[in-house]
């Protein structure tokens, strides 16, 4: 299922291409954007299906409620903008116009996390997974690479109900082999089996976590790596089973440690199998400007930095 060819590719382009393919198959798919179509890559859909694309201008609240209205008419709206504006500016619209009636709207937000880069904290959504997860009935998915993004978007078009999909701005390395990868919305994916510690991650930090596992292996640590693209509803069973084996859990995410994967895993464990958990992500702080790799390094999210934190957590350094 994994690939060794770690070529960096644009998840956003993958999203745009997948939308176009889906648009050809299903005329009910409509796409909305808020003046960021060239960034989110919904422009590809706009070019091919102009009559089914709505550029709402810089008006995210209007976009979300309009998407709700289109869903009320049986359309399958994909609404896209940056994660910050999708979830921050329009949270009330998402909760009340989309979530409450359980409308079939897919919010696909790009630029999630610290790797927005030079634009800085105003544009770096570090809370989006947290606030989307808290809306009743909202499914929350954070895919890791292009192959997975394509599968998740195809799944989203078939699934009935509100969904938040968060993708990164970054060109991310391929993790999964396109030919053999199969997205399972019900199960977390055990990428690597191990005995000493369980690592749980998703999104662009999966590639970093894979590097981290390799470094730990060199130090004689056997880490189990769990990929959790579906943060909600969470696969409790896989996480509890792994924690029962290792008794030590580390969560890794390009998001605040408050409310995201770290919190979701803690909630699952504290009710079922209390184990010690180290949450790695951004702390109770805003991000800042910088180049993407510099930021990943600064916030301790590279494979190397992750390995140091895990070793410390295990008392090995």
């Amino acid at each position: 299922m994994l690939t060794n060819n770690r070529e960096r590719k644009s998840i956003r382009s993958e999203y745009g291409k997948t939308l176009v393919a889906l648009g050809r198959e299903n005329k009910d798919i409509v796409v909305l954007d808020a003046d960021l179509a060239c960034s989110t890559q919904t422009a590809m859909f706009a070019k091919e299906f102009p009559e089914r694309f709505f550029n709402m201008g810089i008006a995210e609240q209007d976009m979300m409620s309009t998407a709700a209205g289109l869903a009320a008419e049986g359309k399958i709206p994909f609404a896209s903008t940056f994660a910050m504006f999708a979830t921050g500016r329009a949270w009330d619209q998402i909760r009340n116009s989309i979530g409450y009636p359980h409308f079939n709207v897919k919010i696909v937000a790009t630029h999630g996390g610290i790797t927005v880069g030079e634009d800085g904290a105003s544009h770096q959504a570090l809370e989006d997974v947290s606030i989307m997860r808290s809306i009743p009935g909202m499914m929350v998915i954070v895919p890791a690479d292009c192959a997975e993004t394509a599968e998740v978007i195809k799944f989203a078009a078939k699934y009935k109900g509100p969904m938040y999909i968060r993708i990164a701005r970054t060109n991310v390395p391929d993790v999964f082999d396109r030919e053999t990868y199969c997205f399972n919305p019900d199960k977390a994916l055990i990428v690597e089996e191990g005995l000493d510690v369980s690592l749980v991650t998703n999104g662009e930090t999966l590639a970093e976590a894979i590097d981290c596992v390799a470094i730990l292996k060199e130090k004689g640590i056997s880490a189990e790596l769990i990929h959790l693209p579906v943060v909600k509803p969470i696969d409790v069973e896989t996480i509890v089973k792994s924690a029962a084996k290792t008794n030590k859990v580390v969560t890794i995410e390009n998001h605040s440690i408050i409310g995201g994967v770290g919190s979701a895993v803690c909630e699952a464990l504290s009710e079922n199998y209390p184990a010690k958990v180290l949450r790695i992500g951004t702390n109770d702080e805003f991000g800042q400007s910088g180049e993407q790799r510099e930021l990943m390094n600064y916030y301790g999210l590279t494979g190397e930095k992750l390995a140091q934190k895990v070793l410390k957590f295990l008392g090995k350094i």
Partner: protein
């Protein structure tokens, strides 16, 4: 354009009387609700459902269901009025009205699409209904359906900036299948709308945003009907600014800001019912 006969006007007036009594009874029974803004909406919502809209009280069992006109109550706190009109039109048994705002009721405090026939979408958080209505209007155009979308806004609600995002969007897409009402009763929870955040000149604002605009007496059935007939012919989105009286029909509630969001006590209830008989 069709004209309403004297008899038809009287029918709507008689219906509106029942709706007013329902509203007061529901709110009294629930011990909470919004009498003022419900009573200002009665003639408009009654006229729409009795005379203007193509709709099917047997809800989605009708084979022509897709061709229905859509009604969106953006000022969701006027839910009692909508529920009464729906039930008196035959959407559900009027006995259910007395479950309004009670635990387990399908008649939630603010309209919920999940719960009850005739409610298209969920509203209550102000400033969202117009954008939802635009989405529906766009969807209807994609499906080449000739249905109209009616959206009912409060005047205080227009202070929500998101409303004006929707106003721009409707004009941009030339949504001639969209007809908005503004229930201009000039009051909001904290006082007079023009003291709190002035909306005037409201008709000029809508016209400047690219809409057709009519100003009517929101309690005059003939004016309501004629304005809708005209709006259906317009090639742009239309707003009908309806001058209304908050608390209309109940002597002590009329134009009294204190009756935005509280229920009458037993004595007040008796007076209200007497006023409405």
């Amino acid at each position: 354009m069709t004209k309403l006969s004297e008899k038809e006007i009287q029918d709507v007036k008689d219906f509106a009387k029942i709706v007013r009594r329902d509203i007061i009874s529901m709110i009294y029974n629930a011990k909470s609700g919004h009498p003022g803004g419900n009573l200002s909406a009665v003639e408009i919502i009654s006229t729409l459902y009795l005379k203007c809209m193509r709709h099917f009280p047997d809800w989605n069992r009708n084979p022509n269901f897709a061709t229905r006109d859509r009604f969106i109550l953006s000022k969701g706190h006027a839910s009692a009025c909508l529920y009464s009109v729906l039930s008196r039109c035959g959407y559900f048994d009027s006995k259910e009205l007395m479950t309004f705002r009670k635990l387990g009721s399908r008649l939630q405090g603010h309209p919920s699409a999940k719960h009850i026939e005739g409610v298209e979408v969920s509203t209550g958080s102000l400033g969202q209904g117009l954008s939802i209505a635009c989405g529906i209007a766009l969807g209807l155009k994609l499906d080449k359906l000739d249905s109209n979308v009616f959206v009912y806004l409060g005047d205080g609600e227009l202070q929500e900036g998101s409303v004006w995002e929707g106003v721009m969007n409707a004009a941009h897409h030339k949504l001639d299948n969209l007809i908005a009402f503004v229930d201009k009763n000039n009051l909001q929870i904290d006082g007079c709308t023009n003291d709190i955040k002035c909306l005037e000149p409201l008709n000029e604002k809508f016209r400047a945003f690219g809409w057709d605009c009519a100003v009517i007496d929101g309690h005059n059935i003939l004016e309501i009907f004629d304005a809708v007939e005209q709006a259906k012919l317009n090639s742009k989105p239309t707003v009908i600014i309806a001058n209304t009286v908050k608390g209309k029909g109940v002597s002590y509630m009329e134009n009294n800001v204190g009756w935005h969001g509280k229920a009458p006590n037993a004595e007040e209830f008796e007076i209200a019912i007497k006023d409405l008989t």
